[in-house]
Symmetry: C2
Subunit: 464 residues, 2 copies
C-alpha cells in the first residue's frame, strides 16, 4: 500500500486536534445535560424515501448498496433502499414517531453524531462532519418559552468554550411570523419565494435581491424596497420591535400575524438581554431557506470570523413529525462541530497542551525489571493519574526523549536495589518534571502531578 | 408518515438504554486514557479497493453512491469508489501510514466508533454497531511486552464495569507460534488451513473437525488427533505450557517456533496471574480465523453468557500496515460494544436509575413568573446540578407527575410573594424528594442533591 492521501471533504485530526474536538464535545454534552437534555443516538441510515421527503438536501444523499446484494434472494432485495442521514433532524423525527409511546413529552434530547452529504468531491465542502443538536419536541403542542430557552442553551454551551479560546458568538434571531405578517401586509403572498430571495442578501447584495423580488415574485419596486428596509433592521433591544412596527405602519402593512411575531421576538430579546447579555441580536434579514420553520429562526456567527457563515442554526417548526393522527411541534438548533473545530485548529485559536492523555512516563531500568515499572504505573492509575511505561529499557536520556516527543510532563524513575542487593520499596522512586528539570523523591501510592498537568488541556492559541 | 418500524440489524436505544451505553463508553474511554492511549477518530469511509484487500469480510461491505453522481463531470466520477468501514483496524492502518511522519511510535491509540457490515437483512446480525478498539503500533518493531499489556488493559476496562452489573469476563489466549510450530512439527504445512478447521470446533465438534482435517488438509488420522489434543488443552497457569510441550514431544513435533511461542504464552499467563488473577485463561483451541495474526491471539467471553460468543477479540500482527518501505507491527483488541450493551439490556443485567440527566425539576407557579423558576434552575446548573423547568404552569400535582414520569427525583417550588406583596428571595424555595415525599426549605445558591442522585446512575438489574 503506497502512502495514502487524505480524502477531500472527510476531515480527520491528529491526536492533539482530537483532544480539542473531544473537549468541545465534552463541553457541549455537559451543558446540554445540565439543562436536562437526554442523549440519544440514532442509526446512520434511513430509508431513502424518507431522506428525500425534504426537497433541498435530497441531491446530497449517499445511497448504500450491499456489495453482495446480487446474490440475495428476491425478498431481501425488496428491502427499502437505505441512505446515510444528512442531518440529525430527519432521524430524530423518525425516532420520535417510532418511540412516541415510550417517550415523555415535551421530550428534550441532544444528539452528537456524524452526518454525511454526497457533495461533488471538487467542491471542497465537508462530506462527513459532526453535528451537535438539541431539540425539544412536544406532542400536539409546544409552549413558546422553548423558543427562548433553546438558543440560550446554545449560548451557554458556546460560552463555556470561551476560556479555551473560542471566539465570542452572536446568535442572530428572527421570527417567521414577523416576516410573513409583514410580506402579507404588503400584499406579497408568495412568502417562501420572498424569503428565498432575502436569504441571498449576504451573497448578492440588496440591489440584486430587489431585482429578483420584482422579476420572480412580481413585487412592485415599492414592495421590494419595503422588504429590504425590513431586512436592514437589527439590534439587541426591543426598540427593534418598535422600528419594525413603524416601518410596517408606514407601508400600511400591519397584520395580526406581524403583531404576534413581534410579541414573540420581543419576549426572546428581553429574556436574552437578561440571561445572556450581548449574545442575542435581532436581525430581520435572517430568513433560513428551509420551509418548515414557522416561528423563531436562529443563526450564529463567531465574532471576527463572520465569513465562516453560521456555525449554529435552527428554529421552530410546527410539524417536526406527524404520523397523520398526531403532530409533534419542535424547536431546535444544530452546531456544526467539525466546521467550528476545523476553524479553531486552522486559525490557531485553540491548542492542546499534549496529544496523549499520559501525565507520567514510568522509565524501565532493564527489561528483567519491567514489572517494577508496571507496578508503579498501576498504582498511579488506581488514583486516576494517566500513566504509561517506557516502550524499551533504553538509556534514561532516550526514555526522557520518548516523553518529551509526546509532551508528557513527568518521568518516573523506579528506585534501584541497594548496593547490598536489598529490594527497594516497589512504589518508591524519583519523579522528574522534564520541563523544569526538577527531580524529587516520590511514592507512587501518594504522589500526584499538579491538577493542570493531570490531563491534556485545551488552551487559547496553538499550544501543541 | 406512518409510524415507522425498526430496521433489523440497526440497534437503537431509548434514553435509559443510552444512559447504559454511554456509561460503558465513558468507562472504556477513561480506562484507555489512564493507560496512555490517545483517542482518535477516522472517517467512516475508505476507498473500496482498500476495504477489499482482506478477503474474509469483503462480502459484507456497504458501497456508497452519490444520488446525483449521474450529473458529475467525468473527472469527478473517476474518484475511487467509497465504502463504509467494517472494522476500525483497516482505517487505523491507513491513518498510521498517512500520518506516520507526525506520530510518535510506538503509537498507542483507542478508537470508539460505529462500523457497518452489509449483511443480508434476514440474517438478524447487526449491520451497524459500535466498536471500541485499542492498538499499539510500532515503526519497524514492537516489543513483545505489549502482547501482555493489551489484554490486561481490556481486563481492567471490563473489570471497571463489574460494579454496575456486567458479568465477569474470561480472556482466552493462545499464540499463533505455538499452533504453527506444533502443526509444522507434525508435518502439516498448510497452517492457515488447519487453523480454519480448528476454528470450527465450537460449531461442529471434534469429530467433524477431524474429518475435515483429513479431507481438506490431507492430515493423517494421527495428525488430526494430535491437532484435537492440542486444542483440548487449557488452563490458568504455566502447567499448560508443560502439557503442550509434553504433547509435542510425544508426537516428536517440538520445533523452535513452538518453543518461542510457548515462552511468550508463559510470559503472558504469568503476568496475567499476577496483575489480573483469574481473568486470563490459556486456551489452545483459540484460532481466530484471520490470517494476519502472527503471535498472541485473544477472545473474551462473559462468564455465564458464553453462547453470546466473543465480545472482545484481537491479537498480534507483524504487518498492521506497510508502505513498501516501512512496516508497522501492531497488537490490539476490539470490544463489540453494541453486542455487549444489547445483551446487558435484553437480559436485564444492568439498568439506569433514570433516562434524563435532570436531578431537579423546578416547578412554575404561573407563566408570568416563569423567570423566577428559570433563575433557580440557572443557579443550580451553575453549581453542576442538572436542572429543568416545568413545561407548563399546571397544578403542582401535575408538575410532580412530569418529574415522576421521567424519574427526576426532586421537585423545587419557588418561594411565593408575601401576603403583603413583598418579593421573596429569588433563589429561596422548598425542595421535595418525590420518592419519600419529604419536603424541606432550600436555597438554590447552596442546596445540593445527594451525590448518588446528581446524575443518572447505571446499576445492576433493570432499574428503569
Amino acid at each position: 500500500m503506497a502512502r495514502p492521501t487524505p480524502l477531500s471533504g472527510f476531515p480527520e485530526w491528529l491526536p492533539d486536534g482530537r483532544v480539542v474536538e473531544q473537549h468541545v464535545l465534552d463541553t457541549l454534552r455537559r451543558t446540554f445535560e445540565l439543562h436536562g437534555f437526554a442523549g440519544i443516538e440514532t442509526r446512520a441510515v434511513e430509508p431513502l424515501d424518507q431522506l428525500l421527503r425534504k426537497g433541498e438536501t435530497s441531491k446530497e444523499v449517499y445511497v448504500l448498496r450491499r456489495l453482495q446484494e446480487e446474490g440475495d434472494a428476491p425478498g431481501d432485495r425488496a428491502e427499502k433502499q437505505l441512505g446515510l442521514h444528512f442531518d440529525l433532524t430527519v432521524p430524530f423525527a423518525r425516532y420520535v414517531l417510532e418511540n412516541a409511546g415510550r417517550l415523555a413529552f415535551p421530550f428534550k434530547r441532544y444528539q452528537i453524531q456524524k452526518v454525511w452529504r454526497g457533495e461533488r468531491p471538487q467542491d471542497g465542502r465537508f462530506r462527513e462532519f459532526v453535528q451537535a443538536d438539541i431539540d425539544v419536541v412536544g406532542a400536539g403542542e409546544l409552549p413558546y418559552h422553548y423558543e427562548v430557552e433553546l438558543p440560550l442553551v446554545m449560548a451557554a454551551a458556546l460560552g463555556a468554550l470561551r476560556d479555551v479560546g473560542v471566539p465570542e458568538v452572536r446568535i442572530l434571531v428572527n421570527n417567521r411570523k414577523v416576516a410573513e405578517g409583514f410580506y402579507r401586509g404588503l400584499g406579497l403572498d408568495d412568502v417562501e419565494g420572498v424569503l428565498r430571495q432575502v436569504d441571498k442578501l449576504d451573497k448578492i447584495g440588496p440591489d440584486a435581491v430587489a431585482e429578483l423580488l420584482q422579476a420572480e415574485q412580481d413585487a412592485t419596486p415599492e414592495q421590494a424596497k419595503a422588504c429590504l428596509e425590513l431586512a436592514a433592521i437589527s439590534g439587541t433591544d426591543t426598540t427593534v420591535v418598535d422600528r419594525v412596527r413603524a416601518l410596517a405602519a408606514s407601508y400600511d402593512a400591519v397584520t395580526e400575524l406581524l403583531e404576534t411575531g413581534l410579541g414573540e421576538l420581543a419576549a426572546l430579546i428581553e429574556a436574552a438581554a437578561r440571561r445572556a447579555p450581548g449574545v442575542v441580536v435581532a436581525d430581520l434579514k435572517i430568513a433560513r431557506g428551509l420551509d418548515y420553520y414557522t416561528g423563531s429562526v436562529y443563526e450564529t456567527v463567531l465574532v471576527g470570523h463572520e465569513q465562516l457563515g453560521s456555525i449554529c442554526s435552527g428554529g421552530r417548526y410546527d410539524t417536526l413529525a406527524s404520523d397523520g393522527k398526531n403532530t409533534y411541534p419542535g424547536v431546535g438548533l444544530s452546531i456544526g462541530v467539525s466546521r467550528l473545530v476545523s476553524r479553531l485548529l486552522s486559525a490557531g485559536l485553540v491548542g492542546a497542551t499534549r496529544g496523549v492523555p499520559t501525565a507520567v512516563l514510568v522509565a524501565v531500568t532493564d527489561e528483567a525489571h519491567r514489572d517494577r515499572s508496571d507496578a508503579v504505573a498501576a498504582a498511579l492509575r488506581a488514583r486516576g493519574v494517566p500513566a504509561d511505561v517506557a516502550p524499551t529499557a533504553a538509556k534514561f536520556g532516550k526514555q526522557i526523549k520518548v516523553a518529551d516527543r509526546r509532551g508528557i510532563p513527568f518521568v518516573w524513575f523506579p528506585a534501584q536495589p541497594g548496593e547490598d542487593g536489598t529490594e527497594p520499596d516497589a512504589l518508591a522512586g524519583e519523579v522528574k518534571d522534564i520541563r523544569s528539570g526538577e527531580q524529587v523523591d516520590a511514592d507512587a501510592a501518594s504522589w500526584e502531578p499538579p491538577a493542570e498537568d493531570l490531563f491534556p488541556r485545551v488552551v487559547p492559541g496553538a499550544a501543541g
